[in-house]
Amino acid sequence: MERVISERVYVWQLPVRLYHWINALCVAALAVTGYLIGRPLAVQSAAEASYSYWFGQIRFIHFVAAFIFFFNFLFRIYWGFAGNKFAQWRNFIIHRKSQVQEAVDVLKIDILQTQSKPLESVGHNSLAGFTYFITFLVFLFQCITGFGMYAAMSDSWLPHMFAWIVPLMGGDFAVRQWHHVMMWFFIIFSIIHVYLVFYHDYVEGRGIISSMAGGWKFIEKKK
């Protein structure tokens, strides 16, 4: 058997990498502060209310992170049209036969752990791309429900663009409830996502972990 010769491919452009890490930080901040909003710490205290504002601050962080998260997300959608071929929106929707085949191959690699031949895709494999598409839908849901709730405490037009979700879902309670439930999607997604990146790095040896920092992947050179 021959030696594998690798070649360097520039996959993730700087905007994609920046988007990724800003998004990761925002999601972490939103999940932590969101959890605390839903289940505040039990403090027994004799303090005067005028003395502190920690819960207000937690909410403030949630809202600041929410705005960054939202605009970052909008930027990524734009980059899905403006970016290189690995960033294009087509990667996120399974629409070709070869993508279906690849998704099956990925399942074989990930779950059955049987296949070990290298994947066609250099950027997102088709199954990963599709999972990210699902997360985009959840991002959208969190933004709509979040801003829908925020509209009740704001005069600005942006949150009010989403106020229609409240009557649609039957009231603020339901909006809040589902906004809370979806937090768990982010937590569980993050566990699996981080693990799978490590796993693919390990079994494929293409440098997928560092690719989100430097942008390069190493693929098997075709002869």
Binding site: E2, P40, F173, Q177
Partner: protein, 371 residues
């Protein structure tokens, strides 16, 4: 009566109210309906000159708490004048007439004031089994509502039953209880939810119609903005404790005695639009939170299904009553971590074998130290 219509002011005089009482009442009402001070004159003028609005008030699937609230309005004029003495042409609970007489009163009002009368509905309307779950005088509520709505000037849905279904429509809703706005279309409908609504809110809605001859500004759910545009939470006097993170953790703890925020006790103030914290109840004496109990969100749709009341998160559909999304999330999260760990172990075992094979057949290079 048609030549010289009786006005509200006439009627108040007849009841012995002084001019001063009358003006006080008008000023007070103007403030409630959210009109600026210069609007007082308009309200006074309307009460002096406009003939009373003929009113028919229906009672369907309800407990009459809306009527009870209304007649306990902090201002006696509301009950005396707007409600039972002069305005009401038909209402099952308060009218003297009964049986055939009552039905006649209803029909003559609807005929005489075609297109002018105000239709007030208290209670939801059952729709299952052709609506047999609520019949009056041998006719279903559904039938009655449809007939009366045809020539009504406007419809006011009193209380949560008529505006969003309230307890009758909570799961599994055996009678198919339906709020009025889902049955009638093409008529202005004002939803005044609450179980019951605050008396002043009810009176204010009527006075607005009377003084300005049009329905008040409504929000996306058809509620008068003057009373339902803010959450109880936004006007709650315990709000500073919320912002400071000072919460009651149990009804008998020190924090409860100190009057901290009831958020963790399941207070629905943050998701409930109503004026309780501003107008309050029983002549402005108190409201639930002031009395130490969280808001249960009685003016919001499905508030019965969003329980338990003493928990911030509702129980997750399909699981036990104590199980929230967080309980489920923790279990699924732990299962995921366990799955990932198992996967990592099996990967390592397999990969080690592969690397070994690779080194043996030369496809993987292993750098030895010092080479």
């Amino acid at each position: 009566m048609n030549e010289n219509p009786v006005t509200y002011w006439d009627e108040m005089k007849r009841h012995g109210y002084s001019r001063r009482d009358f003006l006080k009442f008008c000023t007070w009402m103007t403030a409630f309906i959210g009109v600026e001070a210069s609007g007082v004159g308009k309200v006074v003028k309307a009460m002096e000159t406009k003939p009373r609005i003929p009113v028919v008030w229906f009672h369907f699937q309800e407990c009459t708490c809306c009527s009870e609230s209304f007649i306990r309005s902090s201002h006696p004029i509301v009950a005396d004048v707007i409600l039972d003495k002069i305005s009401l042409d038909y209402t099952e609970t308060l009218q003297a007439a009964a049986g055939k007489q009552a039905e006649e009163a209803l029909h003559s009002t609807m005929k005489k004031y075609k297109g002018e009368y105000l239709m007030l509905v208290e209670g939801s309307i059952p729709t299952e089994e052709d609506g047999v779950y609520c019949c009056i005088g041998g006719r279903t509520a559904l039938d009655i509502v449809q007939e009366a709505a045809q020539n009504a000037k406007a419809i006011i849905a009193w209380g949560s039953c008529a505006s969003n279904g309230c307890i009758q429509s909570s799961k599994p809703n055996p009678t198919g209880a339906t709020p009025i706005h889902k049955i009638i279309s093409g008529k202005p409908i004002i939803n005044v939810p609450g179980c019951p609504p605050i008396a002043e809110v009810m009176a204010g809605t009527i006075v607005h119609l009377l003084a300005f001859d049009r329905i008040p500004q409504l929000d996306g759910l058809g509620r008068p903005k003057a009373f339902y545009s803010r959450r109880v939470h936004d006007t709650c006097y315990r709000r500073p404790n919320y912002d400071a993170g000072l919460f009651v953790n149990a009804f008998d703890d020190e924090n409860a005695k100190r009057g901290y925020c009831l958020y963790k006790m399941g207070c629905r103030g943050p998701v409930t639009y109503n004026s309780c914290a501003v107008i309050k109840w029983n002549n402005g004496v108190s409201y639930p939170i002031q009395s130490g109990h969280g808001c249960i969100g009685c003016s919001e749709a499905h508030f019965w299904d969003n329980g338990p009341f003493y928990q911030h998160l509702a129980s997750f559909p399909g699981f036990g009553i104590e199980t929230t999304a967080d309980n489920i999330g923790v279990v699924v999260g732990a299962a995921t971590v366990a799955g990932v760990a198992a996967h990592a172990i099996s990967t390592n075992i397999r990969k080690r074998k592969l690397i070994k094979e690779g080194i043996e057949n030369g496809s993987v290079t292993e750098k030895k130290g010092g080479e």
